[in-house]
Subunit: 471 residues, 2 copies
């Protein structure tokens, strides 16, 4: 193992990183729940204070019509230094069902796991843990290089509504565009392939969401008097959603695959290098009995590189104890679509409407609601100098050659595409979460040694990017 | 129009009937809601008092582990008079959704409708309205015949849990069997074909209910990280329920139709005589855009004489505002089956389990819960002397020859089969509700002239049955 001044500084100051993360996780910044609006504001205030303490000369809280974002800027003294903008979020997912948590979600708890010490708590990984490395990483960069200011101008934009679909983020980007100019966007909201497998995300899927309402009788009907003689919207919803995928696991919306860029042989080869133990994945993070999906693609391709349709919620009729013998007036379903390049979220609504109209049974009225917005898919340029800098930085932090840093794809979606669009800068992904972190689920955790590697990689990245003179 | 002393008495005392019904409807005796347990007890107490006031020498409230039943007995002075037992229920359906009611459900409101005055309110028809006719009917019988005691011994057993599936009724019948001996059971919980169409129900469907739970991942999963790669229980539920009926609208459970007695030509001919305006039915009570159902059968046959499967409720995943991008751990559905002779409710559980096991997709675990009990189908003997008495009584009340009283079938289910089984007596149905009464729905109502006809038919029935000397 080749040490470095960056690594030495990080290892000497790990307690700071752990203490900061624990303090931040204690703040239940659930953006989806209006009752937690005050906590989301507290989370922003805590982060602003932590950034000031780290040394950022400019730290601001940017209000939005929803939750506040935090902006910070530390200019490089070098006149021609590139500008990097770090993106992340300080809000967290809801915790339900609370009874499945082994430790209270907002009382961060250290647990010794098979791969080293873990910290359990909502947000311990997504995104507070993944993001917190930048505080120690920047200090390590300065200490290791003996600089007073970073080798790149570092800007941070940490939003507070990512877990609620970032409804006000595009407007914020437009409004603050003059402050956000940069040469590269560093997204810190992702993970690596496995604890001992340095890797970089190169793409994220997009997202479009929809709600389908089917209406049958004008009122709930007595199923004794009317059962078997009029269309039941719950039957219609089952029949409709049963055809959302064909026998090959492909989404059946007309035109859904038209803009999907086929995976190249090189891309498939790069993905196949990522070590993946399907049995362990099923038994562990996926907690499932079988794989499933689109014919002709591996599980990693299915989750990272192919578009999907998932029913996230479905309801209608009587759902209380015992039975109520009704034909309900309505049935509902929430569906989200993950998109890959070059699909556009705004295409999904018309495709879904056409599909529903063509498949809804006689006597059932359908309504499809697709909220405006959605998330576009996005990806890194594998051949750019910034990408080379990132792979060198990760390689050093993990004692690996840059060409052995694996390239992965993230199945989730965030507002990264908005950043690309608004700021016109290329994307890098630096994040030290793990697929086993149980993000969005009970017992979320982070592997603490990954955060120390992440802090070191961040420190190396500023030096490497500074040396590249991107502009 | 041929009048009769019974009719004259009824018409002279209609205000009593209306006042009694309004007072009873004011009591929100919703048996499914534990918060209304006191109201169900109040409803029993009100009925007991009304029966005492009518003249019943014996009136008792029979407690059960659930809601109380009311029992009353008025022995005939004639030693060899037959014994008739009237069955009905004093509990009512829940009112949700309350915002769809034009008048508060427990403030009975008189409305002038196209067929005459209506009374609106929960229970105005089912079953308080249909049942209340026996108070005035018995008084009319005594007044018209000049008797001090009825021509038959009249017993009433009015339960308080019919709308909750009569969970304690079979045990009550066993426990009180020595008090309930009778020659004929008169069920008063049904309706006639139309306002000007005298008819008698001759059969009711049985009922079996079930809840299906499908389990996929052990916890809710992030649909970005896992979507498209593991089975989603909501997709599985949609696929499963989409195959509950085949292309011909037949229920696909193996063996489901094995014990169904085919409709005879005579039965189909009798049903075809019932006037039925399908367009008016769709626009009115069914409030639906199209008919639907088993190939080869009319709407009246589908609702009355054929077995059905209806999904009454379905739920799983995220159902709140906005979206939550999960693959949920579980999906649920409530399904009820209507049964016809000679199907048995206890057969449905094994049939459903076999069907689910054969159709559940890989990676999904299924659980089928079928509560014990259920309701058997039941029917009247069309050729019995008691049936002839009933048709004569209804004919007189509606100024129609007995052979012109139409025979219908009731699609709903009640504990009538338990009465037949426990008491060994044949069934008659006397009820003056209408298919347009919106029972179990918002804005339930009863057509008041039907209740006056019903009271008159009840008065005629006691005289006719007394004359038959059934025992």
């Amino acid at each position: 193992m080749t040490s470095s001044p960056e690594r030495e500084f990080v290892l000497d100051h790990l307690d700071d990183l752990h203490a900061d993360l624990e303090a931040w996780v204690r703040i239940p910044s659930i953006s989806a729940d209006p009752a937690h609006a005050g906590d989301v504001a507290d989370s922003a205030a805590w982060l602003a204070e932590a950034l000031r303490r780290t040394g950022f000369p400019t730290v601001e809280i940017w209000p939005t019509p929803g939750a506040p974002a935090v902006y910070a800027e530390w200019p490089s003294a070098d006149a021609d230094a590139p500008v990097a903008l770090v993106y992340g979020h300080h809000d967290v997912q809801p915790v339900d069902p609370p009874e499945l948590w082994e430790h209270p979600p907002f009382e961060p708890t250290r647990v010794d796991g098979p791969d080293g010490p873990e910290l359990h708590g909502r947000g311990a990984s997504d995104d507070k843990g993944v993001l917190i490395v930048h505080l120690l990483g920047l200090r390590a960069h300065l200490a290791a290089t003996g600089r007073d200011t970073p080798a790149v101008t570092v800007k941070l934009l940490i939003e507070g509504e990512e877990e609620s679909g970032s409804p006000h983020f595009p407007a914020l980007l437009q409004q603050r565009r003059d402050r956000l100019g940069c040469d590269v966007v560093v997204v810190s909201d992702t993970g690596m392939a496995a604890p001992d497998v340095p890797s970089a995300v190169t793409a994220m899927r997009g997202l479009a969401d929809a709600e389908i309402t089917l209406r049958g009788p004008a009122v709930d009907l007595h199923s004794g008097s009317f059962g078997g003689a009029v269309p039941n919207p719950l039957h219609a919803m089952a029949e409709l959603l049963a055809t959302l995928h064909d026998d090959r696991g492909r989404v059946t919306l007309p035109g859904f695959y038209d803009k999907v860029r086929p995976l190249s042989d090189r891309e498939r080869e790069l993905m196949s290098r990522v070590p993946f133990d399907e049995r362990a994945w099923l038994a562990g993070p996926a907690a499932s009995r079988a794989t499933y999906g689109e014919e002709g693609f591996s599980t990693l391709e299915r989750t990272g590189a192919r578009p999907t349709a998932e029913v996230n919620g479905m309801w209608g009729g009587y759902t209380g104890p015992g039975h109520k013998t009704i034909i309900p007036a309505e049935a509902h379903a929430k569906v989200t679509f993950r998109l890959v390049s070059d699909q556009r979220p705004e295409d999904v609504g018309p495709q879904l409407r056409a599909w529903v109209a063509a498949n809804v049974p006689a006597g059932i009225e359908a309504e499809v609601h697709t909220p405006p917005g959605g998330v576009s898919p996005c990806s890194s340029d594998l051949d750019s100098p910034a990408m080379e800098a990132l792979l060198r930085a990760i390689g050093q932090a993990f004692d690996t050659a840059p060409e052995d840093v694996l390239l992965t794809r993230e199945g989730g979606s965030g507002p990264e595409a908005d950043l690309v669009e608004a700021l016109g800068a290329p994307l890098l992904f630096l994040g030290a979460g793990l697929p086993t972190d149980r993000i969005h689920s009970p017992n979320e955790r982070v592997l603490l040694p990954m955060l120390s590697r992440g802090a070191e990689a961040a420190a190396h990245l500023w030096r490497e990017l500074g040396a590249m003179r991107l502009r």
